[in-house]
Symmetry: C2
Subunit: 368 residues, 2 copies
Amino acid sequence: MSPTARPKNDNFLRALLRQPVDYTPVWLMRQAGRYLPEYNETRRRAGSFLQLCKNPQMACEVTLQPLSRFELDAAILFSDILTVPDAMGLGLYFAEGEGPKFERPLREEWAIRDLTAPDPNVHLRYVMDAVAEIRRALHGSVPLIGFSGSPWTLACYMVEGGSGSPTDYRTVKTMLYDRPDLLHHILDVTTTAVIDYLNAQIASGAQAVMIFDSWGGVLSHAAYREFSLTYMQRIVAGLTRVADGERVPSIVFTKGGGQWIESIADIGCDAVGLDWTTDLGDARRRIGDRVALQGNFDPMGMFAAPEKVAAEACRVLDSYAADPAEARTAGGHVFNLGHGISQFTPPDTVKILVDTVHSHSRRASAQG
Amino acid sequence: MSPTARPKNDNFLRALLRQPVDYTPVWLMRQAGRYLPEYNETRRRAGSFLQLCKNPQMACEVTLQPLSRFELDAAILFSDILTVPDAMGLGLYFAEGEGPKFERPLREEWAIRDLTAPDPNVHLRYVMDAVAEIRRALHGSVPLIGFSGSPWTLACYMVEGGSGSPTDYRTVKTMLYDRPDLLHHILDVTTTAVIDYLNAQIASGAQAVMIFDSWGGVLSHAAYREFSLTYMQRIVAGLTRVADGERVPSIVFTKGGGQWIESIADIGCDAVGLDWTTDLGDARRRIGDRVALQGNFDPMGMFAAPEKVAAEACRVLDSYAADPAEARTAGGHVFNLGHGISQFTPPDTVKILVDTVHSHSRRASAQG
């Protein structure tokens, strides 16, 4: 690979590895998205969301859009969370104005037994091409994050046939309680698929990877361990740890998983993502400093007046510090939203947020 | 009041007060509801859900329906969570196939400043009549639970104009971050209204009360304390503690509040409700035995085969015990679902659940 392995701005990677940083790095979940008019314009040209995902040049274009507006410290591959089940043959589609759906939800035992992990370099070639294209286009400016859904989260969509939240995950949870053997088989195959998929992204140029366990929080304490966390642990253990001589850090994010962060920190990942319900300082006290933390500004806090947004960003930054004198430059915290940015967010507010994170963490460090 | 103060089966009240019980008592959130054909029949006769709520005789009828099918250890007033805002003049209505809505959502500053707490004995007379009617009809068999939504949860509906979840609570959260003074005013008036409402229910015959903070879990750690918990603390402090010479225990339930149970236990309530994401044993270790715990079977676990449902019920019961030899008859645990029962639940499964809770907790006690 031609690009240099270590980006010019590597604060994001250093923060994840708990190494000293110049300031607290920031990126935003779903930073390339519908709140940006230029994104909507590219999507229109692509024809549909799925065509946008499957076109490496256009995926690269939208990945870079937020970076030219804001001083973000990382890029994240623009793609859909459901590319893996789509490559498994479930037939992903998007009905206008609705969430993702599958033509062939996974419910019959024969179909579950037939499930196989796709070869990412064949069936998900378009993703790998996008990763390589984005990495080249970044010119070593900031690191590129690859990602995947967690096996449990993917299984929710696969079994429900779309988002499970309107039906309280009734179908997949009935399988969980009634036929755990079938669900475990789905999770087992999907885990293999996710390991291959993330390692192929790393081989194509991803410099960090994130696992989105968006629906882990709907599980009971016991079921979370058995049906989600175990499989994420297998993924983390199976990931390529060093590429081009550089460590490739991993971030694990269970939305609604604030009660379980000690267990998440134990699976071997480098960082734990937190939604906005968990206090960063409490999390640090509970986990210790064995992993970095990523988060956790409430995305619905982005609609307040600029000075209120800035004040809340400072509060989140300060909540991470063990004491007021602690330098932000110690690393260990990546600022982010606690969930994806809302499509209604004013882009000007994003600029205020990003700039406040940088200026406040530099200032706090200078004072510290 | 003519009925005897202490019901014949008072296991529920004793468990809440951490006094010895004969077995672990059980009731189910939304136990009078759409999963029962006889409920649907009464609702049809009433004309609409709201007419059913506002008719004390019919509200009494549906409250008692699950008790004649299952060996439940408590009755809960059949009513809607939004009766208080309706009595404040917001105009509650139900569009067919949709959730509750308000004709006049609370968004303008003048309307917020105009808000006043209704007199429950005038504007919510139908609720008090239902409480008295149910209490009479129970003939001292099991205790009657009164309830209210928490101020934050009611404010979500009042400001959003209906359920906030489709829009991620954007309107009410924008008020929270941008105009906290306005939101605090709504919460302040609503808190007074809820205290009056619950005390009127107690005066009419309710023998325990529960505060449903259904949407507390969508708040950040900091906002939860400031905008939900503080107001619930004021309510608990303002409740009538003794009626007819008997203690009236209070239960506080924040759905999605598993991270905050230590703080909830500190507000002076007798019991903390837990959704299914929190392990009962962990909760007990964190809180100590200063409050009782209520919960926490996953409502989506009710669709499995009967033997799986029974096994999961035993697992939940066993998770409460500090060690296997501990007698269930020590009190401190009220078995419930972690959220309202689904309308699709087979009634036969409810019978299995209730009977298993009783038989398993008697058996474990006999062994202990």
